[in-house]
């Protein structure tokens, strides 16, 4: 990837973040005036008017938008309406928890899904392969919320081997990571299998086998790399799906991360926090896709971005 291309991608990323910012701004503002949520029930009409004025909510929406955009460009996202203090700091405080969870879920996805997909492709009729594919189907079809609650009931309440939620030791990570990883793992398994199927039918594989190259080398040396190309692009998208999935997973498992913060902040109409959090997550998404693009050129030198 050359410098010009990198620059274009960067500009695209900034545009994406800007669009996310704009959409979130208007959706949040148009879905209800939160004044009453922030004032005690005794507040009079004057109190409410004053509060609205202080917050700038009595101005036309477009004016509010331009002013806020100006602040954000200067790096000021404003203060949280519920926690007090800088919205940016509040979100950044919770980011490590989300990254930890997403990273583990991502690693789980890769170390389970790619070998599972391989097995299913190489020995499609084995019982193990069949089981893998059934699991993959179930994994993709099950909503994370339901899976999470079921796992809590089984592993925490019935068996008592894992904590129901919260962040602490490694044990706290197991269930959220599995739930968060399950959807992606199912998808990657199916993609890996499909990719391998396709590649294994190619001429060069037949040639390799004909030359007497050991099967191990055929699979891992020749086939896997090409089969993983579509998987690679799916992995980029999986990161995005996981960041979205974290919203549900973190709520179910009381995980103190950005996803849960978004849910709470949307309910409480904490505009600045929602803005910061969504921009941050979309930035991570953009970066992960950019990384995939770069990896593409490394794995397959034929691919060029011109």
């Amino acid at each position: 990837m050359n410098a010009r291309m990198a620059l274009i991608r960067l500009v695209q990323g900034v545009i994406t973040a800007f669009l996310v910012f704009t959409v979130v701004f208007f959706i949040m503002r148009l879905s209800g005036d939160p004044t009453m949520l922030f004032l005690p029930p005794e507040a009079t009409q004057e109190d409410m008017d004053r509060f609205r004025h202080e917050m700038g909510w009595d101005r036309p929406l477009v004016v509010q938008y331009v002013r806020y955009l100006g602040d954000v460009v200067r790096g000021d996202f404003g203060d949280s309406l519920t926690y007090g203090g800088s919205a940016l700091e509040i979100v950044l405080e919770r980011l490590p928890a989300t990254l930890e969870l997403t990273a583990l879920a991502f690693i789980l996805t890769m170390i389970i899904a790619i070998p599972a997909g391989l097995i299913a492709a190489v020995k499609p009729n084995a019982i193990l392969s069949q089981m893998v594919m059934i699991l993959a189907l179930v994994g993709q079809a099950m909503p994370g919320f339901w899976l999470g609650v079921m796992m809590i009931l089984l592993f925490s309440v019935a068996l008592g081997v894992l904590p129901t939620g919260g962040r602490g030791g490694v044990a706290n990570l197991v269930m959220p990571a599995v739930v968060l990883g399950s959807w992606g793992a199912a998808k990657i398994t199916r993609l890996t299998r499909a990719g391998m199927f396709e590649v294994l039918g190619d001429d060069y594989i037949r040639t390799a086998r004909g030359k007497g190259v050991p099967e191990r080398v055929v699979l891992f040396g020749h086939a896997l790399k090409n089969a993983l190309l579509p998987v690679l692009s799916a992995l980029g998208l999986t990161v995005g799906a996981m960041l979205g999935g974290a919203i549900i997973t973190e709520t179910v498992f009381a995980w103190p991360g950005v996803g849960r913060l978004i849910v709470q902040s949307v309910l409480k109409r904490d505009f600045p926090v929602v803005q910061v959090a969504t921009i941050l997550l979309s930035a991570i998404f953009v970066v992960s896709n950019l990384t995939v693009d770069v990896l593409y050129t490394v794995v397959d030198p034929r691919i060029r971005y011109d």
Binding site: P41, E42, G84, L162, V174, G221, A254, P256, L267
Partner: protein, 548 residues
């Protein structure tokens, strides 16, 4: 070449990851997962205000057998995030639950519904009803060693007035002056006679002046200091707040060593944590989990009277509900008792007016409306023999019970007398906005506050406050004023009775019921009776290990 390096890197990283996962699994096996009843997880006792979460990878130390008694920790699962721990900046009950451990007010509302001395040992009110004099408890110190005295009280009132974004508006509105008489005597002067002054200051937590000035509002929020039974230990944002016992508490040494308030937003997660023995107390038990908890011998559900639920009717616009007869007819049509009994499985008590059964002025003889024939008769009289259509707005507000199911029951009962109520579901913030803009025709809302004060009449029905949806100030306002300013207990009771009777008669709302709030408690592990009278659920009650 490259491929080989790539392969080798890939292989070695895979092996590393697997080793890490294996190690993690072993580490987890070595840690006793959900602690059995007698074993508390190793607490972090190091006081730290920094809300940075700990590294989870750090291997936990294996539990070493210590002959000394392990600290007894109580874990409470709360439904919302702790918002702010500066007492004058928050109005969330979730925060108050924590603050009432760390800090003390002058007086508390005891479990029997009367005010009890707390940091004030006694009080009296002047003849004109404006000046309240408080005698303070001597020899009390804040956790940081500062003495508690009249200056601290004055400082706290000043902070409530001056701190930016103060949530103590009720106090601010009424307060005219705070005077220090001597070290242990302080008087407050209110702008008008105010019989519920004690109730209004029962949530004013006393702050240490020097510390508060030194750290500022944000610093206080991160590490609150008070005179309370427990000292602040740590607050991991969105996860938990931990407090440890203050052995020198003026009211005697607390019987548990640590309390951790863990935020578990999902109702099913809260219940699971109670069932699994991770939490000892949980709040807001969802309706459909109560039986499951009751079925377990070591668990129980504690109830207390919660919000009063009412269906407001628009009397401002030119709509059928502007006619008192129509409003009465709607009350007659709705059978709140059977809804409380069958839709809410008896977890609510029907009321005939706006008062709680424990409020001053409650009249057990006031009848509950329920008569379909009378409803039809009144509708015909008002000129609506065939009924009319009305928009019925509902939303999930403050954890109300079974909102939708109740609304559907109301809808069905109104249909029996010819009224078509079209249910519109709104999201919480939208609900509040429509409320503020007076857009509703008919709306379902709860009111949660101290039943003793019954401040909601003033807030919801008085023309000078919000005057909400209600256009009969000539008759209503004087009755509310009487109730809100009458100092004599007996006469205040009578004023409340007269007011509630008028409200019943004039029917600005369809009167529904008082809900029960459910708490799940692991009685096999802890002994606790909730304070049923006040928002502060721990004050005036004892929390101790079950074995004691």
């Amino acid at each position: 070449m490259y491929r080989r390096i790539l392969n080798r890197t890939l292989t070695s990283s895979l092996i590393l990851i697997m080793v890490a996962v294996l190690l993690a699994a072993c580490g987890q096996a070595a840690t006793p997962a959900p602690a059995p009843a007698t074993e508390a997880p190793a607490p972090a006792v190091e006081p730290t205000a920094v809300p940075v979460a700990e590294e989870t990878e750090a291997p936990e130390e294996p539990p070493t057998p210590v002959p000394v008694e392990e600290p007894f920790e109580v874990v409470m699962g709360i439904a919302a995030n702790t918002g702010q721990l500066h007492p004058n900046l928050t109005s969330l009950t979730t925060d108050w639950i924590v603050l009432e451990q760390i800090m003390d007010p002058l007086i508390i509302l005891g479990p029997d519904g009367t005010f009890q001395p707390w940091l004030a040992t006694g009080w009296e009110v002047s003849g004109d009803g404006l000046t309240w004099t408080f005698k303070l408890r001597e020899g009390v110190t804040f956790h940081n060693g500062e003495p508690f005295n009249a200056e601290a009280v004055k400082f706290t009132f000043d902070d409530a007035l001056s701190v930016e974004g103060s949530s103590q508006t009720t106090v601010i509105n009424e307060l005219a002056a705070v005077n220090v008489i001597d070290d242990y005597t302080v008087e407050t002067v209110t702008a008008r006679t105010n019989p519920i002054w004690l109730s209004q200051i029962a949530h004013l937590f006393m702050m240490p002046p020097a510390y508060t000035q030194e750290v500022g509002p944000e610093g206080f929020n991160e590490a609150p200091v008070g005179t309370g039974a427990f000292k602040f230990v740590e607050w991991v944002k969105d996860d938990h707040v931990t407090v440890e016992k203050n052995p020198d508490w003026w009211n005697g040494e607390p019987q548990v060593d640590l309390i951790t308030f863990r935020t578990i937003p999902e109702a099913s997660g809260r219940v699971a944590s109670l069932l699994a023995g991770e939490a000892d107390i949980i709040e807001v038990v969802p309706f459909d989990s109560i039986q499951q908890i009751e079925d377990r011998e070591d668990l129980t559900v504690l109830d207390r009277g919660g919000a009063i639920a009412y269906i407001g009717l628009d009397t401002l616009k030119d709509v059928p509900t502007q006619d008192r007869r129509v409003r009465q007819a709607m009350n007659y049509a709705v059978d709140a008792e059977s809804i409380a009994e069958f839709v809410l499985s008896g977890r609510a008590q029907a009321v005939p007016g706006g008062l709680w059964p424990v409020s001053p002025g409650w009249d057990p003889d006031l009848p509950i409306y329920n008569d379909k024939d009378k409803a039809r008769e009144l509708l015909a009289e008002a000129g609506y023999p065939d009924g009319f259509e009305i928009e019925f707005s509902i939303g999930q507000v403050q954890g109300m019970l079974q909102v939708k199911e109740v609304a559907q029951a109301v809808q069905a009962q109104l249909a029996e007398v010819g009224i078509t109520a079209n249910i519109v579901e709104l999201e919480t913030a939208a609900m509040f906005e429509a409320y503020a803009n007076k857009e509703f025709e008919m709306y379902f809302f709860p009111w949660r506050s101290n039943p003793e004060a019954a401040r909601h009449f003033n807030t919801l029905l008085h023309s000078t406050t919000r005057g909400y949806y209600y256009a009969n100030p000539e008759e209503m306002d004087p009755l509310i004023d009487d109730f809100m300013t009458e100092m004599d207990t007996e006469q205040r009771y009578e004023a409340g009775r007269v007011l509630n009777e008028f409200v019943h008669e004039d029917a600005p709302w369809i009167f529904m019921y008082v809900e029960q709030e459910a708490f799940g408690v692991n009685t096999g592990r802890v002994k606790w009776d909730i304070n049923p009278a006040a928002v502060d659920m721990f004050f005036g009650t004892e929390l101790s290990p079950a074995s004691n």
